[in-house]
Subunit: 375 residues, 4 copies
């Protein structure tokens, strides 16, 4: 991790009521290495301003539109302006915002899919190259330490030659007819592009397969479906695929698999071994061998190389949700100060904890005799 | 969640090389509702200053000792001074620091166990009451949404009369002879108090049992053990216990269970049902019934009440580690800007993603014919 | 279950060294409703006779070839002759043996696939119809109680309209070059037919999908692979498929997925719910809903209808392996009688068990005091 | 496994409506090495005769009482008489029947607990020694291959010095007030002895702990409970225990843990590693190490020694319930012959399976084109 000044960024999208903007901001805050300095959070300036205020931004840096933001931020002193733009809008705006940002001299971190279609993507690549700015997609799942470890193991040949990949991303939230903002833009060709489910989550599966194997997917034979009545874009699909190096595979993505939450998983099989990872328990991965027991790798363990365990923020054995649980304790405490709410573990609990320990020791000293806990 | 000004706090302990201070800071940062403004991070002023600098603190607010911190912060203007002290030192310092902070007019959020022994704890309770300050322990596990849900279900009588509780916290890191800072103070009666393992993690188990059942543990019959050669404090122990309301139970805590990572779990059985929760997958809980299938509850689902799902920061179905994975993506991007590192998902991935979608659609439009992915 | 005379049968195949014959015989013996009376266990008459002797058969009823068996058995008195033939040979013999048996007046229970190709299968169907004999395939997986329950739930509409089916059967035993009898005939077009892996285990997956949904698979788009060097038949493959009622799906079967044991699983999603079953833990099934927790159904529970729980032979909560564990106890005892082997639980264990109980009660009567176990 | 004549046995208990007798008989039948030749299945001679008839026994060998059985069987020619008695009665009859059998010259395989109290057990041991007959208890759980493997690993020192054992057996069936034959005798001191739950299932846990560690449990500190109203014997209990070799542990057994089915599990931790086994999935065991991933051992794998994999009756990767599923297929077929019932996989399925394979190959040969499945 670098030291020194935080990296400053602006955000387009992510106003109140939006889905993913808040997660972006939580994530950007976590390590204290980034600082949100400006934004256009919504087409609705009211919403945008309210969001900015909640985030403690300088009101002057909550802009009316992204063009203004690019212009005005560029006009600021170098060490005071935003350095990159985070794009969290619906799909159809990814391209114009990214283009404006790059041409304005800013790096770009964009939600996927990058653009509406391949032509736009190629155009964007040209702009990235000519402006020499940094562009990245938030393919979040690549952020899991064990996904990187999977890629490393495969690259080092520890699974032998890779033969078969199964990757899937199954959700159920569009199994019923859903009327909300999320569903609306995802199923609208104007805002989502040529594909619904595949563009939304199939791309994650595609990207994960390529990242982990470090191989390019070269061909598909696909069966995309529209199950929901009146929908114009696919809400489900499966494809047979081929990758460089004679790898064969199957990719499925669906938003109509009733009861599935966010079921991203990948399995890779080579001549010498296999790997299985599921988003349900992302800091654990199964490793398969010939003639040896299956192993369960867990992130942050001493048997993992430093580049992996170093990406895990909590002590080995603690699930990553531990930070959030911890944050709930801090938040509750801050609320108790501001709002006089009750506490989960107050001074009375503190006393009870000590009484518990003393009683244990007394019991132990008396041949495990039953001992009352004083308090 | 409250709006308005962030709650300011100082920290005692948590210098470089320490275990838990960083997790406290990550957690405090997550929701952008708190602000670390000062600290005494180490007895070693060098370490303390370096830590403060890394955290971007005003160097004047990195103090030489906690007494100074209390005095100088109290002297600042009211809306500029710290509002509470977070204590993350070894156990023996919890009491004197908490006492100084409370008497100095500050609220206290302290690591557990609260004090060295019961007498100190009772004294601390008196101080809390007389100063009317807020005091809480960071019993982190109470921060998991489903733990609160378990408590709510039990309080509403959904499990009938509670009869039996099993709670355990098993680690393996002291199974071998360990020589490090963490092991040293935990096994030193001067710094840890009368108990090692039980004070360190048994108290979490005790607290969890009381929190979930809302019942007081009244009696124990204990068997504490010292397995590691030359140790002076327990590194393992089990106890039979009794709680108010004729509840019986078993509590085990150990640091010598080879291969166990951080195995906190609780099971509660009542006349009408049971619950099982394990820290290994903390946002999932099993619910048992008579004559009905076992249910798997997962946090953030719509079938949970708002007070529970509202404590979960990511969309339903995403594991909480999702934030950390997301943060890795942001961090990697910031590193790319500062250190010209490579990226997991660059513009080439962006183009490939679009080519993938286009190929899917072409294949679909040609009777699932094999279609090359252009790029 | 019927009462009265056991059903008599003969077997073709299953000599010493063969794979599945012994499992057929164990299964046929379990409920004491069937009786093996004759057989042609191997082309090698020596092997066949040795097998017959081991099974306690009348040596006169171990025949030189299946034609002889059909003829001689048909010549016996009606209540003395075999009633059906169990066929456990390599694939290419299924058809001629079945045909001879049916024409000889016997019912047939055959391993799958039924024949070498579709033409033979159609011909076999004609023979079954004209001879009016009973013919069945040992699609073993249909024998699991929860598979039948899945079919019942779907047939009753409890999952709504079915939309998507995922079925797979993954093994790893052919990931390396294997030289044994099993591998040899499976990869030989003469003995296995037109397909290797798909005929061997893909048919199980196909059959399971049709059985559970009660729908016919109508179309496939397939990608079959030969990964093992020098092989002539597929050792891996995946197919997109369509079923009656607008059901879409994906089927994968593989014998090169390194480390996979016998991974048959099926997932079915409908408009109102989903089911997931895996062979790894076959007496447990997950049921998915909209807006309700996932349920874990376990076989033999009171909440299942009698037709399901009645197919489970052990008390609810006991895994089915319980019978085998029990059988090991009986076998060990029989061995102790015949071979003077040692015992897992002898009279000394019996005494220790009683001493344990007495010590518990003494401890309880003395306030949980530590009590020595006498013995 | 021995060859030659089957071992003949008689049974006391296990009449129609009884719980465990049928499981004993299934198990004894499985390997075709034992033969049930006589019995006293119930105090009620009608029931006993009906049971004998169902089992196909010679009616003359269904006796009025066990004393008669011992006398008349002893009077038969040596190679015609029973060789041992299997005792499956309520607890209070174990001793008198075993005694009569041993004195009558027969070996004894008895359900646990062996006797009503320790005094009787000691007396039984004297009789076993003086008659030089073989006596064993059906501690079924010792029959699982991986339990023996656990014992072997520990005996060879692979876990280092054993320090801690957790063993538990949790059921929920007595959480409510239950009125049936099973509950009645278990809670009746006359028939069950001094203990209810502990005698019934606690002894299994005790025995498992001793078997796996090959160490004797020497002391207990116990807390037994009666939760069910009006009961005279414990329906729940926990105990701290000590074993030879400075091993400490905790044992819990309960029949009031609502929703638990048959939760027997054991965890053993030594200086070098740990093991975890649960009855829920008995042919899988977790192995823990320092600084290495957790391993999942599965029975019948090539990496297990022959004495373990040889006790597993189905091919590696097949769950043991596979035999029962297979038996369901055979049974269904026998029923189809006797009762003209329908079949799960008939000739039509056979044809469909072949059509499926042909369609796969046609699709493959046409570039994965969609291909109709003919049939």
């Amino acid at each position: 991790m670098f030291e020194g000044q935080r990296v400053k960024f602006g955000m387009v999208g992510g106003g109140q009521g939006a889905f993913i903007g808040d997660v972006h901001r939580l994530a950007a805050r976590l390590d204290d290495k980034l600082e949100l300095v400006c934004g256009v959070f919504s087409r609705d300036l009211e919403n945008s301003r309210a969001t900015g205020q909640l985030l403690g931004l300088d009101p002057k840096r909550v802009y009316a539109d992204y063009e203004t933001m690019m212009r005005e931020e560029a006009a600021r002193a170098e060490n005071d302006r935003m350095e990159f733009v985070s794009i969290v809008t619906p799909n159809h705006l990814h391209y114009p915002v990214a283009k404006a940002a790059l041409l304005g001299g800013f790096h770009v971190l964009s939600d996927k899919p990058a653009t509406k279609d391949l032509e736009q993507a190629a155009s964007l690549r040209d702009i990235v190259k000519s402006t020499r700015r940094i562009f990245a997609l938030t393919h979040t799942y690549l952020g899991y330490p064990l996904i990187t470890h999977a890629r490393d193991l495969i690259s080092k040949g520890e699974l032998g030659d890779i033969r078969k990949v199964f990757v899937e991303y199954l959700q159920g939230w569009l199994a019923k007819d859903v009327k909300n903002k999320q569903a609306a833009w995802r199923m609208d060709p104007e805002r989502s592009g040529k594909s619904g489910c595949m563009a939304d989550i199939g791309t994650h599966a595609h990207n994960l397969a390529e990242y982990v194997t470090a191989a390019r997917m070269t061909h598909v034979a696909a069966d995309l479906n529209i199950f929901g009545q009146g929908r114009q874009l696919d809400d489900d699909g499966s494809a047979l695929f081929r990758m460089d190096g004679d790898i064969k595979g199957v990719l499925s993505a669906s938003q109509i698999c009733t009861g599935c939450e966010n079921g991203l998983s990948i399995r890779v099989f080579g001549t010498e071994g296999g790997l299985e990872w599921s988003h349900e328990n992302p800091n654990r991965m199964m490793r398969y061998y010939h003639d040896r027991p299956v192993e369960i790798l867990t992130a942050a363990q001493s048997y993992l190389p430093d580049n992996i365990s170093g990406r895990y923020r909590v002590p080995a054995g603690h699930p990553e949700g531990y930070i959030e649980a911890f944050a709930n304790i801090y938040l509750e405490f801050a609320e108790a100060i501001r709002q006089e709410k009750g506490l989960s573990a107050s001074i009375d609990n503190a006393v009870r904890g000590m009484a518990f320990i003393e009683a244990l020791i007394t019991s132990q000293n008396n041949g495990s005799a039953w001992t009352e806990i004083a308090s």
